[in-house]
Assembly symmetry: C2
Homo-oligomer: 252 residues x 2
Amino acid sequence: MSPGKGADLEETSRTTHTMRALMELRKKILSGDYPGGTRLFEVSLAETLQISRTPVREVMSRLAEEGLLDRLANGGFVVRSFTYADAVDAIELRGVLEGTAARLAAERGVSQAGLDQLREIQARLDDCFGEAADEVDLEAYSEANAKFHVVLVELSGSTVIQREVERATRLPFASPSAFLSGRAHVAAFRQSLHIAQEQHRTLVQAIAGREGARAEFIAREHARIARKNLEYAVFEDPELMLTVPGLVLLNS
Amino acid sequence: MSPGKGADLEETSRTTHTMRALMELRKKILSGDYPGGTRLFEVSLAETLQISRTPVREVMSRLAEEGLLDRLANGGFVVRSFTYADAVDAIELRGVLEGTAARLAAERGVSQAGLDQLREIQARLDDCFGEAADEVDLEAYSEANAKFHVVLVELSGSTVIQREVERATRLPFASPSAFLSGRAHVAAFRQSLHIAQEQHRTLVQAIAGREGARAEFIAREHARIARKNLEYAVFEDPELMLTVPGLVLLNS
DNA sequence: GCCAAGCCTCATGTATACAGGGGGTTCAGG
DNA sequence: CCTGAACCCCCTGTATACATGAGGCTTGGC
């Protein structure tokens, strides 16, 4: 089994028309050009993407695999539509799966090298914070945070779990980095990153101490930050829906 | 969102060449005709399945979606190969996801009708047992058991969770009904069904009493029965590997 | 004898023509 | 006005021809 195929695929494989069209269509869906429920027709899409129907079918098939499109019973595809409740559940799902990865890492044990790797990223995250409580290098934090979550899941030692976490994470609003852009102006948000980082710290500690249950529930609670941010965006500051990637997918 | 698309699709949609070929190829893979790691070529498969390359691509794309095939970096597909550890993790994953569904059902509450439905199936499962401890109508049990698990997940009220449980369940050896055939001759196995049924009972009780944590961990423990059966098949009675669906997929 | 370069072959990428079915619309009859 | 049936159009299913790139093999030179 080759985990992470989805992501690597586009990096490693040569740039073919299908790949270009795949990225283009994905971007269009993610930016709200095709609202949820929109049916996508092969012919018109072929014209839009400047390719023939064959690669269009290929592209739609892959996007269905990613969870952005749904297959219709009698053929054809529609853009998958998400409610607010779906987004909440997708985040919950990510928390549960990352929690499982963390628990397995703790229960089954990780190598010293793996632990060092996690601690090194943790240190890098620490370096992102400035003197003031609300001073933080968001760009660097976002990058290191993404890396932390990737390594954490790798340490589970399970390609099956890894594959499913990656899958759950592919929905943009469920990603660990989803809300790390676009809220920089909110001081309370920047301060909340200290709490997130404390969770990173205790998570590493729990894994090192082989405390499975503790690791699992810290990871779950960690995902709850995303849920809080989602609630804030939806109910407090709807303008954020346009800047946080993927939130335009939410319908009702 | 339309949960359960995968399964219904084949029931509802008209029988097209692609569908016939999809079922045929899936059956061949599941029965071990193409061992894990085997690369599938479009042209030779087209000859084997008596269709042209276009629907072959469609079929392989869908099987990749199901998790039976892996995409290669430079195009093409290989039959996904599973180790014993992968099977253990896939069962663990199913337990975690069903556990989450059970927890959400308990926490968020279910309707009286939903609860009644679950209890009715539970009663049907009770009826499968005879007077003697090891007397059981396996066929009826298997059917009702599958239904129980489906309804349980529906009661989570989350289409996102439902979709992922169905996905995790699609791997044949991870299905709740995986080991309910082929072990009928083992008395200890038949008696273990009493334990499983007791877990069904307490699971319903936990959901009714809105005991989320209890529901979650009973569901996880319930999945452990499958893991025990897997261990038995692999280490105690390797002949079972040929009769339990999907176990031929295991390589090392 | 080994290494490198070029060619050749094979598998996938892509376009397109034709077939067939489903759904929508329209018209006619009640 | 409502209902049902028939027809037509549009969209997907399928086959196939051609393009293209990657990898292996062979050959030649050092």
